[in-house]
Amino acid sequence: MSEKVIAVSNLTKKFGNFTAVDHITFDVEEGEIFGFLGANGAGKTTAMQMLCGISMPTAGSGTVAGYDIIKENERIKRNIGYMSQKFSLYEDLKVWENIRLFGGIYGLSDKEIAKKTDALLERLNFREERNTMVKYLPLGWKQKLAFSVAIFHEPKIVFLDEPTGGVDPAMRRQFWEMIYEAADQGITVFVTTHYMDEAEYCNRVSIMVDGRIDALDTPAELRHRFNTDSMDEVFRQLARKAKRGDA
Amino acid sequence: MKQFIAFVNKEFRHILRDNRTLLIIFGIPVVQILLFGFAINMEVQDIRVAIYDPTPDALTTGITERIRQSAYFNYQGNMQSMVDVEVAMRKGKLDLAVVFPQNFRESLVHSGKTAIQLLSDSSDPNRGSISTTYATAVIARFQQEQADLIQIPFQIQTENRMIYNPLMKSSYMFVPGIMGLVMMIICTIMTSVSIVREKERGTMEVLLASPLRLGTMIFAKTIPYMVISFIDFIIILLLSYFVLGVPVNGSLLLLFLVAILYIMLSLSYGLTVSTMVEKQLNAVIFSAITAMIPVLMLSGMIFPIDNMPHLLQALSVIVPARWFIDVVRKVMIQGLGITMVWKEILMLIGMTLFLLGVTIAKTKKRLE
């Protein structure tokens, strides 16, 4: 029986009268690649921020890595990695300096950081870019670097918010290979995206519409249920009722 | 033309959406004018004075009494020794000490001469010398009363008339200065930060590719800021007049025109700054550094320009606020007309054109 690394119940976030996340309930098992799908504006980022402990839920409850997201949000942070939509690394720091900073923040020693940095740069074929300022890196490489930094300290779970925005399909595929490698190492991956084809890469997906989870299952099951070959079609059928987003 | 208007509208909408910044932009001048208008005062008051009188007699107690009664002084009492005086001054608790010699009256009666020492804390020389002057005047008046003659002959009376500022309110001199300072800071930061922001985001290139001519585009960008700044100026003027009681003796229209000119100048300076830096942070640093201290020190708002060494007087010529403050003082307080201020206006126009020229030249260079 694998542990549930993420379990939420009726999680809600309101901004004034606007309900961004509407009573969602789901859980994620250890080692899963869980896809959190939905159109732009459906509430994915907001939900993820609550799970990471940087947004306070209006209602509902949940645990991440065994810690309560309302009362123990700071302890959650020791066990997770995060890659925001802007893949925000420090643009005026070099590649190795960014790695060092976040490695150090998560408690790795100077020696460990140096060793792992070398290994990482080797793996990504990044060695010549070691001393390049992040602001000069092309978009695809920034993404890969941001992801690598997010899992540098080998967290239990890594949260990825729209990690593949704005690059060509080839790049996206390379990125997903990196995600698979991470999952093989035992890291649970929670990834949001609005690219429906990426759903196929996940163990299970949920589809958010207007703040609610309207579907949650394996991609195969969903395709079967909605009688179609593509996840795009599944989504389109669900989104027909949507009031928000660009379906 | 239509594109121009659309562009201006877009800029306006952008700004109006940001409530907080608007609140700050309008709130700042209000608070500053009220605060400084009421709080800044150049007169020397509340001089803490103590007496050291080893052998009190009728004369020394008489003088002491006069000092106690004087409105300028805050009488601290008699000191027991000179050491006490020194210590009190060193601790910053005493501004002035009146020191009588031993047997004051006796020496005066017998030899016809004696001396009183006035020790003043002159770390602020202004305060030190004025304290001494006041104390000297009090002692001199006492002396006069003591003289047998009711009227000393060969007196020349001086009849004083304070013109333009009969009550000698500090705000008359200061308020034009605050106007100049606040407006320059706000305008410079407004434009420089907003343009550098677009540079940082990369949206600048998009703008530069638009069909509008460069000069027109820059102009369109600054129009909303012109409007905001002018509203700021009106607010400041209203407050100065109604709340602080600073008169508007000259032509209001002239005042407005000059204000608009100065605003354009300050905004142009912001534009120039934006061509020199790449980060918003640096835009702010640069604006603050060059707009604040030079204006405070060299514009004549606090320190008279005539007293400065020639090099600094020359430097003050390129401080735009100096000319603006000149005009405001002349028009608002002295009530003079355009014939008296045309030189200043010309300077302001010249500076604006110069800064715009530099901006356009540098922007063109960047495009290549």
Binding site: I54, D92 | E43, I139, T158, I189, M297
Partner: protein
């Protein structure tokens, strides 16, 4: 914990040095400011331009005019034939004062032993006007004393004796701590505080907002870095920067003006450090409450202006109304300016300024506590 701090501080310093403007500013700006601006300060009134409208054109009136010119305070601008022309000069900005001598001046003095002159002063600058008129009054009084001794023999013998018996009290002024009455010495410590305020106020105020705007703050918020650590990591580099600015300022003041603290140098630096803590705290608070760089920059300039102008550097706190003095009581600028002046000029000891130091410390604790609390890792 300390290790995390190390990594964060490393990052702050790297970013600071990679900024093309900041390192230059830290080193050059204090030097430039101290080199140029202290020469601009003076409240002394010299070179007051005066027009003398001499209707009498007599020996005495000319002597008075010469005396005024020779005083060193005044520059004789013009001797116009009438008051109207003189007023025109004043409106033009050519003259600051007008002295009008009546046509019967010398006759009055000899026959009636009394006369009067009229003075008109441009008092837009109230203090200048007051001082100018005081100087003239002094010169006129001196002149009347001169005449008195010259013409004493024309008095009846009784009055003559009483006059002679009028005893003389000499006033001996001693201008402590600044015997040359050099205003520069008074202002230079103020400039040092000004530099610290600008540099250590603006940089922190924009720092956190910058991270908000480019999104890196979120990346920090998901880490276990605590609020205290985060704020501390921001503060320490500014401490160092401020200390560097102080060292440069103290050296520049000595090399350029020969000004060295009469009290202890260590005390100067120590008080500066406490001050930097409070001003940086203020900056960080502003940064926490701002969403854009524009907002933060307006807010910080707003506060800095208030701190400076109500801080006793240019106008004395004692001249302000009671409510403004209350503001000065919580204004770190006024405490440090006062402290520096005492340490530099009065030769005060650390014990003498302990009151100020305590106040600065209290302010620093409050502001930095507020900075930590107002930094929300969770929205």
């Amino acid at each position: 914990m300390m290790k995390t701090l190390k990594f964060l501080i490393e990052k702050e310093f790297k970013q600071m040095f990679r900024n093309p403007l900041i390192p230059k500013m830290i080193v050059m700006y204090p030097i430039m400011v101290l080199l140029v601006f202290p020469w601009a300060v003076s409240f002394e009134i010299k070179n007051i331009r005066i027009d003398v409208v001499d209707h009498s054109k007599s020996t005495y009136s000319r002597r008075l005019t010469d005396k005024i010119e020779a005083s060193g305070y005044f520059i004789l601008n013009d001797t116009p034939p009438d008051y109207r022309t003189a007023m025109w000069n004043m409106e033009q900005g050519e003259t600051d004062m007008i002295l009008e001598i009546p046509p019967s001046f010398d006759v009055d003095m000899v026959k009636n032993r009394a006369s009067g002159v009229g003075m008109a002063v441009n008092s837009v600058n109230g203090t200048q006007g007051l001082l100018g008129s005081n100087y003239i009054t002094q010169i006129v009084n001196d002149f009347s004393s001169e005449l008195r001794s010259e013409l004493m023999h024309t008095l009846p013998p009784q009055s003559r004796v009483s006059l002679m018996r009028m005893a003389q009290i000499d006033i001996v002024p001693q201008y402590k701590y600044n015997p040359s009455l050099d205003y520069k010495n008074f202002m230079i410590p103020g400039f040092m505080v000004l530099l610290l305020t600008l540099i250590c106020g603006i940089l922190p105020a924009l720092n956190i907002v910058m991270e908000k705007e480019n999104g890196t703050i979120q990346q920090i918020n998901v880490t276990p870095v605590s609020r205290i650590l985060f704020i501390l990591a921001k503060l320490i580099p500014f401490w160092v920067v401020g200390l560097v600015v102080m060292i440069i300022s103290v050296s520049a003041a000595y090399l350029l003006y020969g000004l060295w603290p009469a009290g202890s140098l260590l005390a100067v630096l120590f008080c500066a450090i406490v001050f930097i803590l409070s001003i940086s705290g203020l900056g960080l608070i502003i940064s926490n409450y701002s969403e854009t760089m524009q907002q933060a920059s307006f807010l910080v300039m707003f506060f800095i202006l208030i701190l400076i102008l109500l801080g006793g550097m240019f106008t004395p706190v004692s001249s302000m109304p009671a409510w403004a003095q209350l503001i000065a009581a919580i204004n770190p600028f006024s405490y440090l300016t006062n402290t520096f002046r005492m340490l530099y000029l009065n030769g005060s000891t650390l014990a003498d300024v302990s009151g100020n130091l305590l106040a600065l410390g209290a302010i620093a604790v409050v502001l930095n506590g507020w900075a930590v609390i107002s930094y929300k890792k969770r929205g």
